[in-house]
Amino acid sequence: MKDQNFEIIAVAEDTLGEAAAGEWYDAANPTYTALIDTTHRVSSLYNFVNVPSAAWIDEEGRVVRLNEGTYSQVISLGQASFGTDEYRPAVVDWVTNGADSPYVWSQEQVVGKIRRRTSDEALAEPNFKLGVYFYERDEALARTYWERAQALSPDSWNFHRQDWNLTEGLGGPQYRAKRGALGDKDYYAPLELGAAEPR
């Protein structure tokens, strides 16, 4: 799809940077643009609270679709095939048909989908960044700021999972407890790829 003026930009939300994301990118040998984001800057800018999340951006720099965790089951970096089997054809349709694709949202729909932050959630960001800054200098202090960020922004899975991963390993007991507390409720926004979806 490269020759159709289409680019995939993958952004690794990893405080440890290349040390954490590198082996995944190595295994993928990517043809897409692979970036490293130690402070979770893109999540901050796009008001994302979890990974993977995605924004579709058109030729003029306009967001035409926003999805959080659309491809929670499948993330195959190797073939640049982000997403579930349902998601990929939607991307292809957009690349082929542009603004005429039924998967493209109106400006009002996109604006309506952007998560709004409370003032507490806004204050969580600089606290999270302090944690990132202190992580390699003073891990206990880093935790103090991460816990503060989590308390201010309890819905941000990014803040929780980055912290737990560094302090107790991937998918540790705290992650499972919070995930389990949700029950059947998915922590991502629903897929919304149905044919009846309004433009």
Binding site: Q4, N5, F6, E7, I8, I9, A10, V11, A12, E13, D14, A20, A21, G22, W24, Y25, T33, L35, I36, R41, V42, S43, Y46, F48, V51, P52, A54, A55, W56, I57, D58, E59, G61, V63, V64, L77, F82, V91, V95, V111, I114, R116, S119, L123, E125, P126, N127, K129, L130, Y133, F134, L141, Y145, N158, R161, Q162, W164, N165, L166, L170
Partner: protein
């Protein structure tokens, strides 16, 4: 005498934190500023437990603003700052001008916090700079390093469709 006291109180109120500034002095103690995803070391600050004061020359690399005759400006955003007298945002000490970065943040409702023990100041986003995204769905621009450490900017891909995907090893 009583009238003088009242006048002093009014003057102190109208000048905001200037009264507390009496104790503050120029300092060689460096501070660290976390802004966007940058870590900025600032050598010269005014000693003030509540606020971050920097010399105007350092302002652009601290928060991207530039102190102009009309005020502190970031692209088309300008916050008026009087520079012929002291205020909560601008003071002159021993001939040196100082700018209050945290007062500007408060004016713009920008979240910030500090670790005073380690003299690290950390800033969040400026809400007013976000309206193009929040109201018009224009993609916020950013520059991040690729694996070779070269910075790549989202707007470099203008003219192409972009699928922007976040992921993580955790």
């Amino acid at each position: 005498m009583q009238r003088r006291t009242q006048m002093f109180v009014i003057a102190a109120l109208s000048l905001g934190t200037v009264a507390s500034m009496a104790a503050s002095r120029a300092s060689a103690e460096p501070v660290t500023v976390l802004y966007d995803d940058q870590v900025i070391e600032v050598e010269r600050t005014l000693t003030d437990p509540n606020d971050l004061w920097v010399v105007p020359a350092d302002l652009p690399r601290v928060n991207g603003f530039e102190l102009k005759p009309e005020g502190a400006c970031l692209e088309e955003l300008c916050v008026p700052v009087l520079q012929d007298r002291d205020s909560d945002m601008f003071v002159t000490r021993a001939g040196q001008a100082w700018f209050n970065v945290t007062a500007l943040a408060r004016r713009l409702e920008q979240a910030y916090t500090a670790d005073h023990d380690h003299r690290v100041w950390s800033f969040g986003e400026i809400p007013v700079t976000r309206t193009r995204f929040l109201r018009s769905a224009m993609a916020p621009d950013f520059a991040l390093p690729n694996r070779d450490g070269e910075f790549v900017r989202l707007s470099d891909f203008r003219g192409k469709k972009v699928l922007l995907v976040t992921w993580a090893s955790w």
